[in-house]
Amino acid sequence: MKEEDRLQERPPIEDFLRMDRIPHIWCPGCGIGTVVTSFAEALKKSELDLDKVAILSGIGCTGRVAGYVKLDSIHTTHGRALPVATGLKLANPELKVVVFSGDGDIAGIGGNHFIHAARRNMDILIICVNNFNYAMTGGQVAATTPIDANASTAPYGNFEYPFSLPYLAEASGATYVARWTALHLRRVTKSIQEALGKRGFSFIEVITPCVTLYARRNRLGDGLNLLKYYYEKSEIQHGADTRTLDISYQGKLIVGKFVDKEKPTFLDCMNEHLGKVLGDKYQPYGVYHDGD
């Protein structure tokens, strides 16, 4: 490549972003943008037809992702990205549907949808950015806040047991489960790329710094300090038993790919079952073949 071409070349991520919406709203040091970069990277590597990829978010800081990514994108209500995604996927099964949202959205207000979408093995990829608190509203305690961590609505520290999201995902029926931190960007990219190539309910948790609220309130320093924490305390254990993945305050972070299996999806099951019971009368639904 000639030097001038290189200079004129836009950063590859621009193809995946709505540049007319940049700058984004995320704080300096926030980890969400880096996960979006990984997603864009993975999307590119996956060589999927971008016309056939849709992205949905709920509400919250991560909920804004759908607004920045140049795909068919729906910014839904709080917690409801998954059921909207379910409707979208079932209406147009040729789509690769990705839900990109935060821990509050997916495991808090949307927790019921999460376990049921996993139970059905709905063919959806979830990228869940976990920053241990409700950031958009000012750093309230979440279903993922480690015990003893301080939050604006847990001013004396949190005493509720948090969810371990990979455990919840696997127990509910997910066929792909991974956890990484914002430090493991290449691993995040690889996981997303892998999951994009899979059929079934895939769940990727990415632990990211919320510098403005979680870190400040807990006097954990800036983004770099948090990345240092991830560096020192994270341990890659592929295939780890998801029952062992609890996160304590500033404690060990077991990361890796924990689940990767094949299982018929909701539509596979529907088509197979109804075809078996109803025979020729059944109208198979959403079955695409090459050349269709």
């Binding site: 016309d51 759908a66 910014h75 409801r80 059921p83 979208l88 996927k89 209406a91 109803l278």
Partner: protein, 388 residues
Amino acid sequence: MKKVKADPKGVLTGSHYLDGDYAIAEGALAAGCQFFAGYPITPSTETAERFSERIPTIGGVFIQMEDELASIAALIGAAWGGKKAMTVTSGPGFSLMMENIGLACMLETPLVIANVQRGGPSTGLPTLTGQQDMMQVKWGSHGDYEIIALSPDSPQECFDLTIEAFNLSEMYRVPVFVMTDECVGHMHEKVVIPPAEEIELVERKWYTGPKSKYLPFKPDKDMIPFMVKAGDGYHFHITGLTHDERGYPVINAECQDVCVRHLNDKIRTKADEIIRFEEDKTDDADVVVISYGITSRVTTRAVRKAREAGLKVGTIRLITVWPFPEKRIKELAKKIKAFIVPEINYGQVVIEVERCAAGQAPAIPVSHCGGWVHDPDDIFKAIKEAAQ
């Protein structure tokens, strides 16, 4: 507006003996609805049962969701995935749907929700009738928006108006509600389903221009924006936030004004085209009874008796409850003694009649709290008192 004939696959042509709930499912299938998401709730569940039984041999999806929040959310996804979508529910489930009814309005998403009303508030009377969600359907989600609500008075109309609901939802890109009740929902009567070629459907207002020029919320000449579906390469963005024509969030008062006015005005300015009601013997009437749904049938009996007694009484049966036939009520108010408004609630639509009458004629409620349909004599007595 492009009209097409119904696909015979979903049309169960013939005479049937169906309850209102089943008739709603048949109406949806005849209208080409291929996506139903719902959650069981009495007295609406039979619609979901019927749809789940019928759809596998027609082609489409039935999914029982984890709750009503998810059901309505799934409809929004399905509509943007290109399908006609519907759900059915009753009071408690309807309350749960309110947030995403707002999202559907904000995203200008065509979909149909049937509410087989039961007595409320709260769990109330699961198995007994009510017309108590008539204001909730109009005002239940937060913010200013407009919807269309229809009220069938029989299983036959459950069928007919469900088709109409789909047509209106496509025409105006708005959620449309079939507001029936337990009595009609569980009442069996003859339902005639015409041949497919006699059922006219409004096709979605698909965008056909250049891909890069597509704006999901740019009003067309008729105020209704064009629609696309995910997967067709438009890379659209839609959000529940206040947005501009591109669908991009713009958080300021100016954009709010344009966005919210549009959501309301696209219905308000078309109210005359949307509104349907039946008017009878109002020419020389002293009293006009305004009713809807099952109550209008009981009203007919009361009004017959009143006429036999020599009372000058006319009727208006609302088929569209929202938007409300404000103009006609205003005209009538100038020349009659009183409106009588029987409804199976403690006074809801009567407030709207009162507003429209604006002091020119009283709007007298014949209310009860639900669980039964009116005794026609109660309506008769109210007519008699008002006429004197």
